[in-house]
């Protein structure tokens, strides 16, 4: 079980604290209303019962007075219930917004963090966090109510009838106790159920998403038989575990209603013996279920909370993974005049079997073109990621003009760099707007010229780009990104190219233009490439990964997105 109240939600989401206080206040007010309501009903009913008329002895003169007050109490309760759902929405909405922004800020602070995939991140920020609605609107208010109402109700019952109070006092704590015991006893079963259901769902998703592949091999229809078998087998297993898993809910209901029944029978027999008057008996009977209701609802809404709490948990994991920036960041020395030194740099992604980059040392003198060469998976792209500050070296250091990159203001450092990744990202807009990212004030002719020199003479600047540059091939994306980088060097006054396979997929003529453009810029470059035309530019070749290369799969950016 997740902790009922995640302290990190309280700490990070300031809206939660005010919300909890407000919910506690409405909870107390609600408890007062419930007690008043029971009192009014008990006196009104027993008054009519005793006098057989609507005017009778008692604290209030007549039935209409009770009715008037009851109407007031129910109106207040209606108002409170509206208020608490409104507050819950406010709190939930502002916590969601805050976590969403924090999550995406964390992604941007840690852009190469592959431990959370893009699709997980998208899920978390949308549906995942939406599950917090259940947490805030249902679970949390009930949790607070469960802390106040039963105690208040119990105290009131105690003032009326000790025996009934004893029954409630003994059975009430049994509910969480039994729930916890059953929870522990059936935890394995419940986990197994979740595993079965997830496995079943995954199997189906797997088959359906693989349908095009199956059809090509003429195997799609044949899989239906297998699907039927898997479905049947898993359903039988799931039902086996459900029989145990539902026990806890059953016991919860059983204890709550059975206790009310015990109270009713106990007071009933004392009324008949004349030990208790009807008013008190009715008062206790109306109150007793109210003591159990919040506790029962906590159990019912627990699942509403579980998804939300799990999502929040995953969000916190991403947020907390961000390393703190240097306290007093230093201005980066300009790369045009400073030496860049990789000093025994290793990068080991958390959770990976092997280091993605081990013990790389080299230096780039101002204006020099350095090519990184090595086998797939040797860590060339990782070295570029470290240079851009996307990842921090696990050991060793990168120094710019003698200053450790870890102490440098990374935003300012990146402004000096024109980077082209292996699979460049394309923002929604047009090809032109994507190039303009390199220099937002660029004119149309500057954009056109940059794209032509990047080998993209066939691409129209006004071609719209939808989701993630769909419709552009990998080679075309690189050309757009390269044009972006050229602008940044020429007009944005960046002083260093950082290029990861910029000419892959280009024909020779286009490649020659690209090489010419890079060398004409006159600034230094760190390049990963296999193409001779580009390697000829290099003043120095740095071998990366001297020992046997790691499997390609251990380098995150080499795999699938």
């Amino acid at each position: 079980m997740a902790p009922p109240l995640d302290p990190r939600l309280l700490k990070r989401a300031t809206a939660t604290r005010a919300f909890l206080v407000a919910v506690a206040l409405t909870g107390i007010a609600n408890a007062g209303c419930i007690i008043a309501q029971a009192w009014l009903i008990a006196y009104a009913v027993s008054g009519v019962f005793a006098s057989h008329s609507t005017v009778f002895e008692g604290p209030l003169p007549s039935l209409s007075a009770y009715i008037g007050l009851l109407a007031l109490v129910f109106t207040i309760r209606a108002g409170l219930s509206w208020l608490s759902s409104w507050l819950a929405h406010r709190a939930s909405a502002s916590v969601k917004s805050q976590l969403r922004t924090d999550l995406m800020a964390a992604r941007l602070a840690n852009p190469r963090d592959t431990s959370t995939t893009s699709s997980t991140l998208i899920y978390l920020a949308t549906q995942g966090l939406d599950n917090l609605d259940g947490y805030f609107a249902k679970y949390l208010p009930q949790l607070v109510m469960a802390a106040f109402i039963p105690v208040l109700v119990l105290v009131v019952i105690l003032g009326q009838d000790i025996q009934a109070a004893l029954i409630v006092a003994i059975t009430l704590p049994l509910i969480p106790l039994f729930m916890a015991l059953i929870g522990v006893a059936t935890r394995d079963q419940v986990n197994r159920r979740l595993k079965y259901q997830t496995k079943l769902a995954n199997h189906f998703t797997d088959l359906v998403t693989g349908l095009p592949t199956l059809q090509v091999f003429g195997r799609a229809r044949a899989q239906l038989t297998g699907l039927k078998l898997v479905e049947q087998g898993s359903r039988i297993e799931t039902m086996k575990t459900l029989r145990l898993a539902f026990v806890s809910g059953g016991v919860l209901e059983l204890l709550a209603t059975l206790s009310v029944a015990l109270v009713a029978v106990s007071v009933g027999f004392r009324v008949v013996a004349g030990d208790l008057d009807l008013t008190t008996a009715l008062f206790v009977l109306v109150l007793a279920p109210e003591a159990y209701l919040p506790v029962r609802l906590v159990g019912v809404h627990f699942h509403d909370s579980a998804d939300g709490a799990a999502a929040a948990n995953s969000v916190f994991r991403v947020i907390d993974a961000v390393a703190a920036p240097p306290a007093v960041p230093m201005a980066p020395p300009p790369p045009k005049t400073s030496e860049i030194v990789f000093d025994n740099v290793s990068v080991h992604y958390p959770g990976a079997d092997q280091a993605s980059l081990s013990h790389l040392s080299f230096a780039v003198h101002p204006g020099e073109v350095v090519a990184l060469v090595g086998r797939s998976g040797s860590g060339k792209s990782t070295a570029l990621n470290a240079l851009l500050g996307f990842v921090r070296p696990t050991s060793g250091a990168i120094r710019v003009g003698g200053i450790d990159l870890a102490d440098i203001d990374l935003d300012a450092w990146r402004r000096q760099i024109a980077w082209v990744g292996q699979n460049p990202g394309m923002l929604r807009g047009t090809i032109g707007s994507n190039i303009a990212i390199g220099y937002p004030k660029a004119t149309q002719s500057q954009l056109r010229s940059a794209l032509d020199r990047a080998g993209g003479q066939d691409l129209a600047l006004d071609r719209p780009l939808a989701d993630d540059g769909e419709g552009l091939s990998a080679g075309e994306r690189r050309r757009v990104a390269l044009a972006r980088a050229l602008l940044r060097i020429e007009f944005g006054h960046a002083g260093l190219f950082v290029l990861d396979e910029p000419t892959a997929g280009l024909d020779q003529a286009s490649e020659a233009r690209v090489v010419a453009a890079v060398s004409a810029s006159g600034v230094g470059a760190i390049v990963v490439s296999h193409r001779d035309a580009l390697l000829k530019l290099a003043d120095e070749m740095v071998p990366v990964g001297s020992q046997p290369a790691a499997a390609a799969s251990s380098e995150p950016e080499g795999g699938r997105r």
């Binding site: 009903i41 009913v45 009519v48 019962f49 005793a50 609507t54 129910f74 309760r77 219930s81 409104w86 929405h89 909405a93 917004s97 995406m104 852009p111 893009s118 998208i122 920020a125 949308t126 769902a201 995954n202 189906f204 359906v208 998403t209 693989g210 349908l211 592949t213 090509v216 229809r221 039927k228 359903r235 059953g250 209901e253 709550a256 209603t257 009933g268 027999f269 009324v271 008949v272 008057d277 009807l278 008996a281 009715l282 109306v286 209701l293 797939s376 996307f390 990146r414 990202g425 923002l427 990212i437 129209a460 419709g471 990998a474 396979e501 997929g505 024909d507 286009s510 499997a551 080499g558």
Partner: protein, 538 residues
């Protein structure tokens, strides 16, 4: 457009497909009625017990009522337990049935190259809506309706007028309020859809393009944009929350109204001597127990909105006319070895003609690169050659076996060997190992590859796909390579291509590509745009 009627028909069909489906549903509903009925009866009988006790009769007269109270006290928990079991059993059966129907329907239509990716993923989640619909909508709704009716009918014995008033209030609080609330909050939620879509798009963009955004200093700008979309969404969600709050308040007021009406009507009947005093407590306390049932309705109504949208999408898939042949039908004995297209035009059966007048001959051992911009119809042509969809016109002669290697072949979450056997289900262990070796895949065939081949690199995944093609007893004499290196890094791509051209050298190779390096490896390069129909798409 899918109507509620279609969903009802779907449920009826799924029920009918289950052994004793209707009986299971009836039993589940009856158990649910029993469980909710118990809590109402507990309150009613207890109230009667206390009032009767206040008349100080001999204790014997109270024993039946006391037993009843205890019985209802136990009945609720037990009833709820069995209701959940039978309900879930039925719901899971129906879910299995729906999955099978959905799969059967999807597998009849040719899916290759149709950009169905999103739909395929969504539909698998949508199918789960049936469980919610059965367990959280149909069962609570039917049982609560029976409880309303039953409660009112029993109270009519004490006071017909009060029973009628209670019934009217129950209809209002249990049906009208949740229905209105669901309707209004749906309208509010629908207004939120554009903002929600915009937010999803922005998040996706940031998640995918984070490195470029950071490298080019766009991070703050993007976060500001995100915050402003988020604010828009909050505004539109606020109305929905407001409506739901009002609905809850209305139900509380209704409960109060029912209690007060019972007091007024009951007290009048008692003072007129029309009803014994002991029955008053029953009339007044029963509505309190009904309040929880009203709340169940609100939950059902909200769940209905959600699962209805999901199931409507499933129904759409189930009702869609199949396009193409679905599975490829291979004739292993066909004597044709090469590929001959004369005056062929292609297009999806439900779409426009894309390419026309194609003439192409490709003999085993030759290779040809097909180039042209995205959306031109390259994959459509491949589907036509494989016989997955019919040619619009012209003559297609292709071998019985055509190997096909796509950009990102699906890797199933099973062992490597089973993945290879997709190519030939009868392949022996030796044949699997041989195919893997030829494909340059030196891994343990029994290794589990994880979801979507998560433990494989992009290059390894493509080699698994190649091993599938090679797993057939006789290698295909024609292989279509559909941008096989698009998602691979440079070196991995080169290594794969070296192996591809070596192992498949005897076959005719039809290579769909953008990659200049790959074109250079082919004997011929053919620009498909010469056969494009109509104006340029872009």
């Amino acid at each position: 457009m899918t109507s509620m009627g279609d969903i009802r028909a779907l449920i009826a069909r799924l029920l009918a497909d289950q052994p004793r489906g209707r009986l299971r549903l009836t039993v589940s509903i009856l158990l649910a009625v029993f469980a909710s009925g118990c809590s109402v009866a507990l309150m009613g009988v207890s109230a009667w017990l206390l009032s009767r006790a206040a008349e100080h009769p001999p204790v014997l007269y109270l024993l039946v009522a006391a037993v009843g109270v205890r019985f209802f006290g136990i009945g609720r928990g037990v009833g709820r337990y069995f209701e959940r079991l039978t309900g879930h059993d039925l719901a899971l059966r129906m879910q299995s049935g729906l999955r099978e129907a959905t799969y059967a329907s999807l597998s009849r239509t040719t899916l290759l190259g149709r950009h169905y990716g999103d739909l395929l993923v969504r539909i698998t989640a949508d199918v789960e809506g049936i469980v919610d619909l059965v367990v959280r909508v149909i069962l609570p709704f039917c049982s609560a309706a029976v409880v309303f009716l039953g409660t009112s009918a029993i109270l009519a014995i004490f006071s017909p007028l009060d029973a009628f008033v209670l019934f009217a209030i129950s209809i209002f609080a249990g049906i009208v309020v949740p229905w209105l609330a669901a309707r209004w909050s749906r309208q509010a939620d629908e207004r939120a859809i554009p903002a929600r879509g915009e937010l999803g798009d922005k998040i996706r963009e940031i998640a995918l393009d984070a490195p470029d955004m950071v490298a080019y200093g766009l991070a703050d700008q993007e976060l500001t944009a995100l915050a402003s979309i988020d604010a828009k969404l909050r505004d539109s969600e606020r109305d929905g929350a407001w409506t739901r709050g009002v609905a809850e308040a209305a139900q509380m007021l209704s409960t109060g109204l029912a209690v007060i009406c019972a007091l007024i009507i009951g007290a009048a009947a008692v003072s007129n001597g029309l009803m014994p005093g002991r029955d008053l407590a029953v009339l007044v306390l029963v509505p309190l127990a009904l309040h929880e049932v009203y709340a169940d309705f609100t939950k059902s109504a909200q769940t209905l909105t959600r699962s209805r949208t999901a199931l409507a999408r499933v129904v759409e898939v189930l009702q869609a006319e199949p396009v193409g042949s679905g599975d490829r039908v291979a004739d292993p004995d066909s004597p044709i070895m090469g590929l001959h297209l004369s005056d062929v035009s292609v297009g999806w059966p439900d779409g426009p003609e894309l390419l026309a007048g194609i003439d192409l001959d490709l003999e085993p051992g030759q290779s040809v690169a097909l180039v042209g911009h995205s959306g031109l119809g390259k994959t459509t042509l491949a589907a036509t050659i494989m016989g997955l969809i019919p040619a619009r016109s012209g003559l297609v002669q292709a071998p019985g076996r055509v190997g096909y290697l796509e950009q990102s072949s699906h890797i199933f979450a099973t062992s490597l060997a089973e993945n290879v056997r997709i190519g030939n289900k009868d392949a022996t262990d030796e044949q699997v190992v041989e195919a893997m070796t030829l494909a340059g895949l030196h891994l343990d065939p029994l290794r589990e590859v994880g979801e979507q081949g998560a433990t494989l690199s992009g290059g390894e995944a493509q080699r698994v796909a190649l091993a599938r093609v090679l797993a057939e007893p006789r290698y295909p004499s024609l292989v279509i390579l559909d941008e096989p290196t698009e998602h691979l890094d440079r070196e991995t791509a080169q290594a794969l291509l070296d192996d591809l051209f070596t192992t498949l050298g005897q076959a005719g190779l039809l290579v769909i590509t953008h990659d200049a390096d790959l074109m250079a490896r082919c004997d011929r390069v053919i620009d498909l745009s010469q056969w494009a129909v109509g104006t340029e798409l872009r």
